[in-house]
């Protein structure tokens, strides 16, 4: 048995054969396919269902799930609980009425597992009962009642597991579940079971919560147990591995976009709210497990800072080398600075985790959503009127300012949508939330909701965030830059003529296209002129977001992302001034336009770090692709560590280094223009992959292929 890697090094074996076999089953779609067989429970038999209020319908759905969802106890599993209803994998509450889902479910949040593990669900029940007493007779009564109903449903599901575990003699699991998640966990083992059971219930009900800072949560329990000699590190690793393996129970192998994860984020290492380093044995166990099993279903981000230890960085680099982009890093110094500048308390900022991908949030008390925009489309279609004859600007600044005001218009439109759709203005001029779809299960585990008597979607959480995201950043900036250079600075062509050339998709001026492509240096090459234009643009964008902040009960911090949308966009965008023809690839996230980055990874990181990242408290993601051969051996490991350190030193925000595999090289062979920065470095001579002759490329590909 072996778990895939791209670097040719065999993954180490630390887990027992049985656990590894369990992992292989889970990664091999066994449980995902199993879940597909029972997509949902039915609400059809419930009398009077149609006449129920929305919240009553929701409560009935959760109860039906708790009572009827199949239980799953895998052979030898160390922790129990499973999200066995297949429709949840499609982001709905898996309870159907008349053959259709009744409610959508929730994601992009990290639930408050700290309260669950440390205080127990009993304490949440207590809060719910208090809320019910407090809000009886008000319009919040129904939500408070729903909280109690959903906790009752949780009880039902819990009891079913207890009974079954008792019957089959899974004593350890049974005994743990007698305590957790209702009472505070006493041991590491119980703490893991507690997180998992609550997580599994949220997922069973269709939600996709993130997990957040698992090492911070579990570390003290493990340390205590190790000191008392009640557990070995090896057994702790096995328990945690089961947590990971169970987390793969939704993999069914048929995800068209390859999106095999459900925002079940983990954030490890970094400082706690007092500024002390939290790195502990659990941090390393998590890294061990990812390294051994190659599980990428928990998007795991490591919080690095200027003082991160050598041991941690080296371990992170070692795991990263196996490829697949399983590990990403935050420079938490920058993240915390940006959050406090934005207005979060320092202690809150230090607690940060994310929404399941990388967008920063205060975990367990944030309602988060983001709104993706294609800014290249805005530039092309609106500001430059699809390169129509009628468009004309006499200077770069007039064009740039026109574009900014189009951006402002777009974002103001978003704000007014929010106001009309989500909020209403009370007589006193105060904005309050309009009723939204019920979402009690998630509301139970988000700080603020139960106390305030408001659901997750109705202003319950402490923080409510809508983040406008720039998509197409590099393409937009490079377009602006190319117009600036070709038309206004170097006067290679007049504005109107240039619009014509673009309108014709460059078909009639290949020489100018080549000039635009080759004679200017674009964002991502550590060249100040284009990089500073990008920085200026992001700064202006952040300022516009700031103007709209808190004008509706929502925070509006900006971010930069594409999340793969660039693939779809690429077919819809017109030609670009920097030489791109319509249909060609576009840039991802805050990364350079493919093919325009000719100086390699360090230059990309430097360009990215020149951006005013401190003004973007949600984040801007940088993808950096590396070849397995460039991180090979002790030297390569060293280099990867240096790359991570440099990223922190230069003030980056979020980076996802990906060690590319043969597949990517084959693509590079077919479309060399898009992969110019992939380097092959062999002692004594140097070559970019795309400049190698075919034979040599094939050889490199083969070398990479051997590792699969």
């Amino acid at each position: 048995m072996g778990f895939a890697s791209v670097n040719g090094i065999e993954r180490p074996v630390r887990l027992c054969e049985k656990t590894r076999a369990y992992a292989e089953e889970s990664l091999g779609h066994k449980y995902g396919l199993d879940a597909k067989k029972t997509p949902c429970v039915s609400l059809d038999g419930i009398t009077g269902f149609e006449s129920f209020s929305p919240v009553q319908k929701y409560d009935a759905a959760i109860r039906a799930i708790a009572e009827n969802a199949p239980l799953r106890i895998c052979d030898g599993e160390l922790i129990s609980g499973a999200a066995t209803l297949g429709a949840a994998i499609s982001h709905v509450v898996p309870a159907f009425y008349n053959g259709a889902a009744v409610y959508m479910s929730n994601s992009h949040l990290t639930a408050d597992f700290f309260s669950i593990v440390k205080d127990g669900i009993d304490s949440i029940r207590k809060k719910a009962e208090q809320a019910y007493r407090k809000y009886k007779g008000t319009d919040k009564e129904e939500f408070a009642k729903s909280c109690i109903n959903c906790l009752n449903s949780f009880d039902i599901w819990h009891k079913r597991y207890l009974k079954e575990l008792y019957n089959i003699g899974y004593t350890a699991n049974y005994e743990n579940l007698l305590t957790v998640p209702y009472k505070p966990a006493k041991t590491f083992y119980q703490a893991v079971q507690s997180v998992w059971f609550a997580f599994a219930f949220m997922r069973l009900c269709g939600n996709w919560p993130g997990i957040g800072r698992l090492d911070l949560l579990l570390g003290p329990y493990l340390q205590n147990d190790l000191q008392n000699g009640v557990i070995t590190l090896d057994f702790a690793r096995e328990i945690l591995a089961h947590f990971f393996i169970k987390g793969c129970e939704w993999i069914c192998g048929d995800c068209g976009s390859g999106d095999a994860q459900h925002y079940q984020n983990l954030v490890i290492s970094g400082v706690d709210e007092n500024g002390c380093d939290v790195t502990n044995e659990v941090t390393y166990l998590i890294l061990d497990i990812i390294e051994e099993l190659g599980i990428s279903d928990f998007p795991t981000t490591v919080r690095l800072n200027k003082n991160s230890g050598e041991k941690l960085i080296k371990r992170v680099a070692e795991v990263m080398r196996f490829g697949g982009g399983t590990l990403a890093v935050y420079n938490e110094d920058k993240v915390i600075e940006s959050m406090t500048k934005y207005g979060y308390e320092l202690t809150e900022a230090r607690r940060f985790a994310n929404d399941g991908c990388w967008e920063v949030q205060v975990p367990g008390k944030t309602n988060f959503s983001y709104v993706p925009y294609d800014f290249l489309q805005l530039l092309q279609k609106k500001t430059l009127k699809s390169y129509d004859e009628s468009v004309f600007f006499d200077s770069f600044d007039t064009m740039y300012n026109a574009y900014l005001s189009d951006i402002r218009g777009l974002l103001e439109g978003l704000l007014s949508d929010v106001k009309t759709n989500l909020m209403k203005c009370e007589d006193g001029g105060e904005w309050v939330w309009k009723p939204n779809i019920p979402c009690t299960v998630i509301s139970l585990f988000e700080g603020g909701c139960v106390e305030k008597g408001r659901s997750y979607l109705e202003g319950g959480p402490v923080y409510n965030v809508i983040s406008p995201h720039i998509g197409g950043l590099a393409d937009t900036v490079n377009s602006l830059y190319a117009i600036k250079k070709l038309v206004f600075d170097d006067k290679k062509i007049g504005f109107s003529d240039f619009m014509r050339v673009l309108r014709e998709n460059w078909d009639n001026d290949e020489a100018l296209r080549q000039y635009a492509l080759n004679k200017y240096v674009y964002y991502g090459n550590d060249e100040d002129e284009p990089d500073l234009l990008c920085a200026r643009f992001l700064s202006d964008f952040a300022d516009i977001c700031k103007e709209l902040d808190n004008r509706s009960g929502y925070r509006f911090p900006g971010g930069v992302s594409t999340f793969g949308r660039q693939l779809e966009w690429s077919h819809q965008r017109l030609a670009c001034p920097y030489g791109r023809k319509s249909g060609e690839v576009l840039a991802a996230n805050a990364s350079p336009t493919p093919g325009s980055d000719k100086e390699g990874a360090t230059a990309i990181i430097k360009s990215y770090c020149k951006n005013p990242l401190v003004k973007l408290p949600v984040g801007a993601a940088l993808d950096v692709k590396l070849l397995p051969s460039s991180v090979k051996g002790e030297e390569g490991l060293d280099a990867l560590c240096s790359l991570l350190r440099g990223f922190v030193l230069l003030g980056g925000f979020f980076m996802q280094p990906d060690v590319a595999d043969a597949e990517i090289l084959r693509k590079a062979q077919k479309n060399p223009g898009e992969y110019q920065n992939l380097s092959v470095r062999v002692s004594g001579w140097n070559a970019r992959f795309v400049t190698l002759n075919k034979e040599w490329q094939d050889m490199v590909i083969e070398q990479n292929e051997c590792c699969r």
């Binding site: 020489a511 990181i605 460039s630 030297e635 390569g636 060293d638 440099g646 004594g684 002759n693």
Partner: protein, 290 residues
């Protein structure tokens, strides 16, 4: 004006994020000019000291803007012909070529300029990374020791890839690691295949070693040229005799040089028959391990 301002070096390329030219993240400065003419050279555009006009055929779009060269270097009668003999290296065609298919290889840079360039990645060098001088043969240019001295003064770790044909003892105090080519240990073959004698390479190697240089040997392995037991034994013996040798790398020949030879209008020297077999590589490895 200090001495570093006056000295210029002829650089063919500066590459960032090089991971296998010494430890850590490195910036490699390729210097132009080399005394040797190795049969298997992979960087043939860096052999000559003189600047050269490179032509990247795959980038050319045939726009013929380069035909405006006043010296008639570019002609298009039977395909694009480049008569390099006539070229005065004025750089006009390079500037005009829209697709950057033409490039003058060799740029004279002052030490300050080079330092400025390599410091761009200083944030990534950390404890281990730094600058590697390569080429070409770095020591073929008189200013190299001064450059190394300045790099050291800036706190930058330095490595040099050298063919070993020059006395480098002066540079030892400023060089953290020498990557020393041992192309062959057979005098006659060395002469035949590189155009230079082997003895100076070995003499310089020991002189450097005696002066305290940290050395890593780099052994190109070319099938049918130096794939014999005697050579392996000689290298192993060399390693034993050196006091400060930290290891050796085997660099198996590959047919890559060919596609680069075209750039300068040289003959393609990419010959697959010269690629060593797995067995040969492993045997060599075995020998130098002990």
């Amino acid at each position: 004006m200090n001495v570093a301002d006056e000295i210029t070096l002829r650089v063919s390329e500066i590459q960032r994020f090089c991971m296998h030219d010494g430890p850590g993240v490195r910036t490699t400065v390729f210097l132009k000019g080399c005394p040797m003419r190795c049969l298997w050279c992979h960087n043939s555009e860096m052999q000559k000291t003189e600047k050269e006009l490179l032509f990247f055929k795959n980038k050319c779009i045939g726009c013929r803007l380069c035909a405006s060269c006043k010296n008639g270097v570019h002609t298009f009668k039977y395909g694009h012909k480049i008569d390099r003999e006539k070229c005065l290296l004025c750089g006009e065609c390079e500037k005009n070529c829209p697709s950057s298919a033409l490039l003058i290889c060799g740029r004279d840079m002052s030490i300050d300029e080079i330092i400025r360039e390599v410091k761009k990645d200083a944030a990534f060098y950390g404890q281990t990374g730094g600058v590697t001088l390569s080429g070409g043969e770095p020591f073929a240019q008189p200013g190299v020791t001064e450059l190394l001295k300045r790099l050291k003064a800036e706190g930058i770790n330095t490595a040099v890839e050298t063919c070993g044909y020059y006395d480098v003892t002066d540079a030892v105090p400023y060089t953290d690691l020498f990557l020393w080519d041992i192309k062959d240990t057979d005098e006659a073959r060395h002469k035949k295949n590189t155009g230079c004698r082997n003895k100076p390479v070995i003499d310089d190697l020991f002189a450097a070693d005696k002066a305290g240089a940290k050395i890593r040997l780099r052994c190109i392995l070319v099938n049918g040229v130096n794939t014999d037991e005697t050579h392996y034994k000689n290298v192993a013996a060399l390693m034993k005799k050196l006091r400060n040798c930290v290891g050796a790398d085997i660099l198996p020949y590959h047919a890559y040089g060919g596609s680069k030879a075209e750039l300068t209008g040289r003959e393609d020297n990419g010959d697959k028959a010269l690629i060593p077999t797995e067995e040969q590589i492993n045997r060599f490895k075995e020998m130098i391990k002990n």
